[in-house]
Every structure is written in structure tokens, then in C-alpha cells.
């Protein structure tokens, strides 16, 4: 009987397409929007993925990676002397403005790396040599910087070109690929001392300290030792990651937008599929009643309806997920809009779409269970 149940549904082209379309749309809306949302949250942790260090030592009050409070230069040495620390290096992170050839200004994320080790260096160097960054007035810029800072020029910025960074000349010695920052600022790398030259003088210039535990020390133990000895805050990379994500979750409107989009997708899917399926059952009630008269049990009819509902669910979900994967690939290839597709996301939308189908089926099932087989004799 089940293949006939499917034929009954497929035979009603309009409703079938409506159901599949509605569920595809709901899947897309929920999955794609959440993917963008996750991608956006991921962008808030771009410092972590770009600098990569096991321990992050920051001011005691720092709650997340994008709100750093200045430390004293001497703090690096205090961390270095903590037992359990293998090494510690200073990093200077600041937003500075770059002047474009057309006279406009653009903010950039200036990262000053430890002169000796260059720890925190760009993840992927596309062109140039890393060591060149130690030359006077030299910087390595990311691809976004090339795009952003080239406006007003005949040719895009390239190795050897210069631009004005906070009224001082910066020469490009390398082009790298870096994860995009939440604020959309391009990354510009220089050495720590060079960065201090670019930036206006301030009393405290150290942003954070990257460190690694000594052999035999666990990350957590080393972090605890640093905190106890220095009074600063020491995060493991993972803790800093989640603290940052969580901070944006709690302190911005993003989650609300995110939850309302999911709710919207769910409601749209529910309304379209629920009411289409209900109409389908309603229009077929006479035939379902006839099947009942011919001895089909409620159980059989319920299973037929569930099959119909879940088949359109699977097809709609499949199409929706495919479209989102296509969108996601394009987004990731271009670098924007932000997009992240952890497996939990399609799994969660799968469950939501299936619950839409279950609820739609329940609407129809209630009607079918109640129908008297004797209705088949009534005109």
C-alpha cells in the first residue's frame, strides 16, 4: 500500500511541489542564515586563528579577543619568569588608519610581532619573505588590505609599494592570507618595535602576550601558574575562543536575529507544509474513508500519511541542504559573506524539518483517524 500512498501524493503535482518547495525554502532559510551567523561569530575569533598560540595572557579585565587592555612592557618578563612557561612573546594589536592614494582613510588592524621570533606571524604567506618584515618601515599585508588600500591607484598594491600608515610610510614586503576580522579591518603585520613607530605614543603599548607551557606542564596548570604569579588573565586558546564567541552571543543582537530567523524558517515551513498537507488529506478524505471501509486500519493509514509527510521532508531537506552547500562554497571561496557549516548545523535543521513534517502529518492524522468509514456512502 505504501507505494500507492506515494503515488497518491506525487499524483497531486501542485501540492507535492508546494510541500517540497516549502520545506526546501524552510531548510535553506534556517541552514543558510545559521551558517552566516556561525561564520560571523567565527570572524570574532580571527586574532586567534591568525596568531595561533597555546596561551594568551591579557589584562585581568579582558573578556574577549577584540577588547584588549594595554599592559606594561615589563609584563612580558614577568610572564617569562613564571615556572611552567617555556616562552612568552609580546604582541601589539591596534587599529590604525591607512591613507589611500585617493586621499581617503581606511582603518587597518596593525599587528606588531616579537622582533626576534616573529611568533604570531601570518598563517599563509602568499608572496615575499617573512624575514623582510624586520627591515625598517616594512609591513606584510593581507589580501583584503590589497583590495581595500588600492583604491585610487592605477595598479593594485604590490610588493615594494608604499602607503601611509598613520602619517608614516609603510613599505609592503609581503602579502599574506589571513582570516577575516569581525570588524572587517584588513590585517597589517610589522615587528613589535616598528609597530610602536607607526602608532602614536602611549604610556602602555603592549596588547597581549603569547606563551607556551614548559614541557610537562598542562595548558591549564601553566595558565593557572601565570595568573597566580602575575595577576594577569591567562587563557588557553580554546577558552579564549569560546569566551569570545560567548561574549558576542551575550552582548550583541546577533543571537536574537539568529533565533528569529530560525523561528521564521520554522514557521514558514510549518505554515506551508502544514496547511498543504492538511488540504491534501482533506481532499483525499473520501478516498481515505473508502480505504478504511475496505478494511485499512487506522494504523495503516497513519503510516501512509507519515510516509508521505516524511518523504516530502527528505526531498525538501535534501534540496535545501544542497542549495546551502552551494551557497556556502561560493561564500567560503570569496571570503564573504561569513559562512561556517559545522555538521551540527545540517543535523539540527534536519531535526527541525522532520519535526515540521511530523507536526504536519499529525494534523492530517487527526482527521483521518476520526473519519467514519460510512462517509463513503454519503453523497
Amino acid at each position: 500500500m505504501y507505494h500507492l500512498a506515494l503515488k497518491m501524493l506525487l499524483g497531486d503535482r501542485a501540492k507535492y511541489l508546494m510541500l517540497v518547495g516549502g520545506l526546501t525554502f524552510a531548510t535553506m532559510l534556517m541552514t543558510q542564515q545559521c551558517g552566516v551567523f556561525f561564520g560571523l561569530l567565527k570572524w570574532t575569533t580571527s586574532h586567534l586563528s591568525n596568531m595561533r598560540a597555546k596561551l594568551w595572557v591579557v589584562d585581568r579585565k579582558v573578556e574577549q579577543a577584540n577588547e584588549l587592555k594595554a599592559l606594561r612592557d615589563t609584563d612580558v618578563n614577568r610572564v617569562r619568569t613564571v615556572p611552567g612557561v617555556a616562552w612568552a612573546v609580546p604582541v601589539y594589536v591596534t587599529v590604525q588608519s591607512a591613507k589611500l592614494a585617493d586621499g581617503n582613510f581606511k582603518p587597518v588592524m596593525l599587528v606588531g610581532l616579537d622582533n626576534a621570533t616573529l611568533i604570531g606571524q601570518p598563517p599563509v604567506l602568499l608572496r615575499g619573505k617573512l624575514e623582510s618584515v624586520r627591515l625598517p618601515n616594512s609591513v606584510i599585508v593581507d589580501e583584503l588590505a590589497v583590495r581595500r588600500l588600492s583604491s585610487g591607484r592605477a595598479k593594485p598594491l604590490d610588493l615594494g609599494d608604499t602607503f601611509e600608515l598613520n602619517d608614516k610610510e609603510a613599505r609592503i614586503v609581503g602579502i599574506c592570507r589571513a582570516d577575516k576580522h569581525f570588524f572587517g579591518y584588513p590585517y597589517v603585520y610589522s615587528t613589535y618595535t616598528q609597530a610602536l613607530q607607526f602608532a602614536p605614543k602611549q604610556r602602555k603599548m603592549l596588547s597581549l602576550i603569547l606563551a607556551e607551557p614548559a614541557p610537562g606542564w598542562s595548558l591549564d596548570d601553566a595558565a593557572a601558574a601565570i595568573e597566580a604569579a602575575t595577576g594577569m588573565k591567562a587563557y588557553t586558546e580554546e577558552k579564549f575562543f569560546w569566551a569570545t564567541i560567548w561574549w558576542y552571543f551575550k552582548n550583541t543582537g546577533i543571537p536574537i536575529a539568529f533565533i528569529s530567523t530560525i523561528a521564521l524558517g520554522f514557521i514558514v515551513g510549518m505554515v506551508i507544509s502544514g496547511q498543504t498537507f492538511y488540504a491534501f488529506v482533506h481532499e483525499n478524505l473520501r478516498h481515505l474513508g473508502a480505504l478504511k471501509a475496505m478494511g485499512a486500519s487506522n494504523g495503516l493509514l497513519v503510516r501512509m500519511l507519515l510516509l508521505q509527510a516524511f518523504i516530502v521532508g527528505f526531498i525538501g531537506y535534501g534540496l535545501g541542504a544542497l542549495l546551502v552547500v552551494g551557497f556556502g562554497r561560493a561564500a567560503v571561496a570569496r571570503g564573504e559573506p561569513p559562512f561556517m557549516f559545522p555538521w551540527q548545523l545540517p543535523a539540527a535543521t534536519f531535526c527541525l524539518v522532520m519535526s515540521i513534517c511530523a507536526l504536519s502529518a499529525v494534523l492530517g492524522i487527526r482527521k483521518v483517524v476520526k473519519v467514519e468509514p460510512a462517509i463513503v456512502f454519503r453523497g
Binding site: 506525487l10 478516498h287 473508502a290 475496505m294 478494511g295 453523497g379
Partner: protein, 244 residues
């Protein structure tokens, strides 16, 4: 025709004092009011009477599709008044074939698939069901139309498909409500021929509710109803004249 006075055939349906009231209070309608009724094995029995006299209600009760308020009902030895709903469903599945005035074929399925339905509900495999359906399709003279949708067929052809569907699982009781009312005279006659044929099986009983006096002549016996009761039983359909 098949009733021989010397050796009366066994009862297929035995209804004793069955009543059925729809609704309650002011709007209550008593559709059946203490009906006594019998149908024999191997006969084609017609139930006739004016509109609203309770024919369809009685047919629904006999078919096991409608609960009744009081009375007793045996169908081929099964006491329906004592069976649980699940057992009644099982009973319908095995023993009852249905033919309706509006055919009630499923428009999105082909004719063969429609005919298969009672077998598939009964758990028969798809292959076996389709083979039997094809045989029945030949029997009703529509062997070449099996893969078409019922909506492509004329009313008479659709009713023939419905007859094939009602017979395919070889039920003992065939229930027909106004099977010819939507058809012209010749088409109706063809349908009645098929039903007449089905009733030749001595283990079977065909009950036809109708107010179509053109087909009375096909009945072995005629039960005349009025106001929710059986008024008379006529032994020869052909001699009965509704125009009186």
C-alpha cells in the same frame, strides 16, 4: 432464481431488531427503527424504498462501517454486534466488497492500482495483486485500459473498475449503494449483468440498494423499506413495480 423452496439456502445476513438514531434531542433522526432483515447466500438482493427511508444506513450497518444502537446482526456467521472495532475492520477487509454510486476510485492511481487496493490492504504482495487485478480487469471487459487513470474512462467503465475492485479479493458479501443511479439505461444494465454474475457464486451474497426501477428485474428478492423499517419482501424482482 437460486432460491429453491425445498432446500432454502443458508443465511448470509441476518438482522434482528436493529435501530440507529443520528444526533440527539430536537435534531435526532431515527434512520433505522427495529429492522428485521435477511439475505441469503447465492442471491442478489435489492433494498428499495423512498429517499431517506434508511436504505444506505442499513447497508452501512450490514457492511460493518456504521455502529448501531441496538439489535443483533450476523453476517456469514460473524456476530458483528459482539465484535470489537478492530475485529470488524478485519472482517470488512476479508469479507466485504464495496461498490458506490460515485465509484470512489482514487484518481491519482491507475485502474490496475485501484483494483489492487483491497488485496494490498490485505497484505498480498504487489506482484500477486497486480496479476489478480489484470484477470479481473479482463472479466469486466476493460483489459486494455489498466494503465489509464480512472478519470479517462466513462462513468460506466469506472463502475466496472469499481466492480473489479470489489471482487478482486473474493469477498463473500458485496455491498452496492445505488450502483446504476449515475449511469444511463444500457450502461446500468451492463453493470447489473456483472453483479448478477457475481451473485451466481453460492457462497456469496450481493446486496444492492437502489431506487432505479429499471434494474429491479435483476433481483432474486426485493426488500422494500419505509421510515426506517422493512415493509415487505418480494420474491421476484421482475414482478415488482415501483410506479404503483
Amino acid at each position: 432464481m437460486s432460491a429453491t423452496p425445498t432446500n432454502p439456502p443458508a443465511l448470509a445476513v441476518h438482522v434482528r431488531g436493529v435501530s440507529k438514531t443520528f444526533g440527539t434531542g430536537e435534531t435526532a433522526v431515527t434512520a433505522l427503527n427495529g429492522v428485521d432483515f435477511t439475505a441469503r447466500q447465492g442471491e442478489l438482493l435489492m433494498i428499495v424504498g423512498p429517499s431517506g427511508c434508511g436504505k444506505t444506513t442499513l447497508l452501512s450497518v450490514i457492511a460493518g462501517t456504521l455502529n448501531f444502537d441496538c439489535g443483533e446482526l450476523d453476517v456469514f456467521g460473524s456476530p458483528l454486534h459482539r465484535l470489537k472495532p478492530r475485529e470488524i475492520t478485519e472482517f470488512r477487509k476479508r469479507h466485504v466488497g464495496f461498490i458506490f454510486q460515485a465509484f470512489n476510485l482514487i484518481p491519482t492511481l491507475t485502474c490496475i492500482e485501484n483494483i489492487c487496493v483491497p488485496l494490498l490492504i490485505g497484505g498480498v504482495s504487489r506482484r500477486v495483486a497486480e496479476r489478480k487485478a489484470l484477470a479481473l480487469l479482463d472479466e469486466v471487459g476493460l483489459g486494455s485500459r489498466g494503465h489509464e487513470r480512472p478519470t479517462n474512462l466513462s462513468g460506466g467503465q469506472q463502475q466496472r473498475i469499481a466492480i473489479a475492485r470489489a471482487l478482486v479479493h473474493e469477498p463473500r458479501l458485496i455491498i452496492c449503494d445505488e450502483p446504476t443511479s449515475a449511469l444511463d439505461k444500457d450502461t446500468g444494465a451492463h453493470i447489473m449483468d456483472l453483479l448478477r454474475n457475481a451473485a451466481r457464486n453460492p457462497n456469496r451474497c450481493v446486496i444492492v440498494v437502489t431506487h432505479d426501477n429499471r434494474v429491479f428485474k435483476y433481483a432474486d428478492r426485493l426488500t422494500e423499506m419505509e421510515d426506517g423499517r422493512v415493509q415487505r419482501v418480494h420474491d421476484q424482482g421482475g414482478n415488482y413495480d415501483l410506479s404503483e
